[in-house]
Symmetry: C2
Subunit: 689 residues, 2 copies
């Protein structure tokens, strides 16, 4: 009655031992079949690494110890025991630590191993510290770059190197499924020739070299992911021309002002020679970053790149100084986020992963962060991220975009997904002098010119700067008779476009120019005001917007000195600035005394930088500007930072935070407020009712 | 001598049992501290679910059984045992299955439970089948929508419902860390009122309802991720207005022609009422998708959305019919990819996850796929993806983009990261009739007009179609005297632009128009040919490009009938088509006999659809077109599919596959070939040497 190859008699299969598919009698397997036994997670820890410590020279150092404190590794070990990941009731570093983790003995690295990365001179120098007296040690400490020495330093510093090597070996040889090396002093700042940043030897770099050398068949490629808040200059340098190591670092950069503060940590340092394309610096332009930024970077860059690289081993240079609570890092990565990052990286290299401690100076923060990582290593899922509603900071989204653009030269996953237009863009821009390419902004300005001349009979106002296009300044036909003038100074209007998801190009047929200044001009025309419309072009070849800022300043001064001053009837002027161009207005107001005629200043800044008024003519100009201006910024303008109720300084004018982002959006939101303010200043407010 | 709070005497800590931080004597913890014990993975399996089977009505059904075959669950159970994940040497479904997995007993769901989702009528009908005779069962089978019944169906079908409920319960109550329910018949096509697609009851939907009802405090939100290759219409319907369930389905859609083939599976079906925004259909427009597409969808959509939703439980509706080898799904998801997806989802809801089998019909494929998922559940890392170099199909990248755009209305993670311009775009386009927005394409055409009239003295050629802009056709001043004419018919040129990473808007100051036709025009001018330049605008408000295709056809016919036919001296014409506009040329060549003067046709198609020549005038036109044309397509043009050496049919002309993508790139690549071809046809080839 029943179909298929099954039979409907209950338990038939069991009793007769008939294989339901082959219908043959089952011979029970001789023995339990190869039983799957999950491996443990390896753990490196050794109290001897605590002997390297800073020599006290004052009572102050006793109560406020050096951040790279010997207790760092102890506190991590302790929290693992407290949470049952290891069994060591006396926390003395015993060998048998239970069912979940396997102790990997730590040993001193040999000189031969260290010399794989470091110079003989460097090794000799560190060795020499073991024979120095207190005076000499203090002197060596002082002359170094953020390092300290005591007479145990040499011996102690060989242990994390040996520990990192042994941790990686245990993973590669399949004795553990992954490993955590709780070691110090850290290593990633130690360059081949020099110690630095609390680091004596480059632990992770030496371990990676060692593995590549000794397991040439099974490990051909290693991903080193460095999430310490500082750039791992030492590790980067050791492999900068090596295509077997992909070094990816997430760190604060701050225009090169954050330790170690060299250009080597910049996002455009992508490796050289054979190693070109195998170095990736993801730099935080600002402090205070946290889960949102790290998750964004991992999903957009680290994971696709990691998968394409196909490493045989992943080493995490795990500093915990980006952790919430670390006063050196001043960032807010939560323990869950460290868990999520570890979990994601576990999906590479069939889970072959060694986590090696680097920096991290808040003892509580590093302990709970490391615990979260260890839980993932033994196989637990990550905790939920505490706050998923915060967006990555705009500066970070922009930076990630830059990194993607530069790395898309080397990584197919970015090239194809973010469009050819991405990586060849600069090249095309450079070709724009070539005949078949021309800048979009002039086409758009011409469209504005056609609109304004056709609809409102605007004409060009000649400007005495030959390099600027003739269509820079337009004015309404009533300009010379008007006593009231609105002067609109704007960037080229923005475009809302659909971007081709594959090519990255813009299809003009489905794109629109959103000319926000037009509403303002129409409003002024309706009121029979005179109108001057100024378009400030930008320089295609420049990265920054200095060109347009300076142009705007020159154009406005020029307009004042050659025209406005001499207009016979004018007694009321309102300025409306839009985008970068607004800086020209602020400049003019500080450099000329325009108060007799200028009654109101409205600036729609969007996300552009706020410009202070520098009162060259008269000290009281600042106060005057504050009283007579409205400056509208994006909701998420960098100026506001994380603070809810920041009060801007008066030199910026009366800065208001909009409820939305984007020039066209904030102009729509605040149009009425802006025009009412102008009317008020003109004392024409009652007219508008 | 040594600093900090450490002491340099080796082993001091151990011997004296002094806590190094507090310096107090250590009291060993009374007992081993709370020892961390990892939970097992739950497993549902019951041979009784195999009793539902199709009644044979012919020998044919015996040798080629119904795909929803009772062996499906057995094969999965077997492979788990063979790989040591469970211990059951006789494969009979015993209770004690070893250290890694815990057997969760399967029971029949109660009517009360089933009625939480289904109507009384539906339940009664399914129940009635248990009392039907063979005739009646066959009749019920025939009249249903892809379902079958035997007299065990009712009893069997209550088991997967009970199994799914118990699997979820075990996870939610913390008895297992996660669970795998190897159950059948599947459930996700069963709608509240009707069975369908091999599904009788909606297993996962009923389980989800049950959990929400019985654990209101601990489970407030559930993510149901459905990776079966078919849309889970039943599950979607059960929760379409429910904001407690986020239903995300990845499935083939094929313009609604793939089972179940209703518009409910479309990407723009996002829920209604309270449930608006809690339904997400990620639809594959084409077959043959695999790891690259699924990983892309997960990283771009599923994971950010899942994190923002913050579910308390994740249920995977795990059909394995997208697996490589499944002839129904015709896709290529590898076992590793199923592992990766499971691994990623494990990072949600603190790992609380139940995986419930849905479809999947290749017995080998479902076994190895399910094994890969089970390994992740017990805590193993995923295997490496076998091929990480293949890009997602262009159609899929476009679709993901569409899904992001539509979901960005509801999910902050997309809104902020993909720009406001994304979700408000259509609104803005609709506003483009409004005064302050104007289409970019007319600005760009005007720029072309300025260039051509200034540099080469081009002028407008009037066209008798009032709705087209006057600048549609331009011609060189020598056009009436020329005997040789090049006619360039093109879309509005494309733009290479930097997209604002935050707003999604385009900054015109850093954007360029890449006018590829200009090279061709210059080449023709240099040879003193007459030149006609035709710009075909597109319709802003239309989704598709029909408007421009029809416009191109009308313009070309019009040009032939009113001008070209009457030009006194012309005896050689070459057409150059660029983009969608090229269809106008193909149309003309099929509808008029132009062979006396047209010597060559060059079409740069890029990624646009190939157009066949329809020879209305004379059958031999097709052959003539093939001989006298070159049609250049993108390297990754959809036409080529996965085939290396596809030979296009002659009606498309001589189609050639370029080495690159994008109109401007392929024009650069093939410029010389194209111009040589034209010269050859003009018999002027020797001139060009």
């Amino acid at each position: 009655m029943n179909g298929g190859e099954t039979t409907s008699n209950n338990d038939t299969i069991k009793k007769r031992k008939i294989d339901p598919e082959s219908r043959q009698i089952i011979v029970p397997p001789r023995d339990a079949q190869i039983h799957y036994t999950p491996l443990k997670t390896g753990l490196c820890y050794d109290v001897r690494m605590r002997y390297h410590a800073k020599i006290f020279t004052s009572y102050f150092e006793y109560i406020d110890p050096h951040p790279e404190d010997p207790r760092r590794i102890y506190r991590i070990y302790k929290i693992l025991a407290e949470n049952g990941l290891i069994k060591d009731p006396t926390l003395s570093g015993i060998d048998d630590i239970g069912d979940l983790m396997l102790k990997i003995p730590v040993r001193e690295a040999t000189s031969e191993e260290i010399l794989e990365v470091h110079s003989k001179e460097h090794l000799d120098f560190i060795e020499s510290t073991s024979k120095m007296n207190r005076e000499q040690l203090l002197k060596a400490t002082e002359s170094g770059d953020s390092v300290y020495f005591n007479s145990d330093s040499y011996a102690s510093a060989k242990l994390p190197v040996g520990g990192a090597i042994e941790a990686c070996k245990a993973v590669v040889e399949g004795r553990v499924k992954n490993a955590l090396a709780v070691v110090r002093p850290p290593g990633h700042h130690a360059e081949p020739e020099a110690a630095g940043g609390f680091c004596l030897f480059s632990n992770v770099a030496i371990a990676a070299k060692n593995i590549l050398k000794n397991y040439p068949e099974s490990v051909r490629k290693i991903l080193i992911l460095d999430w310490d808040i500082h750039h791992g200059n030492g590790t980067q340098k050791a492999f900068y021309d090596d295509d077997r190591i992909l070094y990816v670092s997430l760190h604060r950069f701050k225009m090169g002002k954050y330790y170690p503060g060299t250009i080597h940590g910049r996002y455009d340092q992508t490796g050289e020679g054979k190693g070109e394309g195998f170095n990736c610096n993801i730099t935080w332009p600002v402090g205070g970053v946290g889960d949102a930024e790290y998750m964004w970077a991992f999903e957009q860059i680290v994971m696709p790149m990691g998968r394409e690289f196909q490493p045989d081993l992943v080493i995490i240079s795990a500093g915990f100084d980006a952790a919430d609570g670390d006063t050196i890092g001043q960032c807010h990565v939560t323990p869950s986020c460290y868990g999520h990052m570890t979990h994601m990286l576990k999906s590479l290299a069939r889970g072959n992963m060694a986590v090696v401690l680097e920096g991290g100076y808040n003892l509580d923060s590093i302990a709970i962060s490391a615990l979260s990582v260890a839980k993932i290593l033994i196989g637990e899922p990550p905790d939920e991220l505490p706050d998923v509603t915060r967006d990555p900071k705009p500066e970070v989204i922009e930076m990630i975009d830059k990194v993607l653009r530069i790395q898309s030269k080397y990584w197919k996953c970015f090239k194809s997904k973010f469009g050819n237009a991405g990586c060849d863009f600069q090249e095309q821009i450079n070709n724009s002098i070539a005949t078949k390419n021309f800048p979009l902004q002039s086409a758009i300005r011409q469209q504005q010119v056609r609109n304004l001349s056709k609809e409102f009979n605007f004409s060009e106002l000649p400007i005495y700067k030959s390099e600027l296009p003739e269509d820079t300044i337009l004015c309404s036909s009533n300009i010379y008779e008007s006593n009231t003038i609105i002067i609109c100074v704007h960037d080229t209007p923005e475009i809302w476009a659909k971007r081709d998801a594959i090519q990255g190009t813009i299809d003009p047929s489905s794109s629109i120019i959103v000319d926000s200044s037009l509403d303002m001009i129409k409003w002024a025309i309706e009121r029979k005001y005179g109108v001057i419309d100024i378009n400030i072009p930008q320089n295609l070849l420049e990265q920054e917007n200095y060109y347009s800022i300076i142009t705007a300043q020159e154009v406005l001064i020029n307009l004042w000195d050659n025209y406005l001053k001499y207009f016979p009837n004018v007694n009321k002027i309102a300025f409306v600035g839009i985008g970068d161009a607004y800086s020209g207005i602020v400049h003019l107001l500080g450099h000329r005394d325009t108060r007799s005629v200028v009654k109101a200043v409205i600036n729609f800044v969007g996300q552009k930088q706020l410009k202070p008024l520098v009162p060259l003519v008269d000290e009281s100009l600042g106060e005057w500007y504050f009283k007579n201006s409205l400056v509208f910024s994006n909701k998420n303008h960098i100026y506001w930072g994380d603070k809810e109720n920041k009060k801007p300084r008066k030199k910026y004018g009366r800065v208001l935070r909009c409820d939305t982002d984007g020039i066209s959006n904030i102009m729509e939101e605040r149009f009425e407020e802006a025009t009412d303010f102008i009317l008020d200043s003109f004392e024409e407010w009652s007219d508008s009712e």
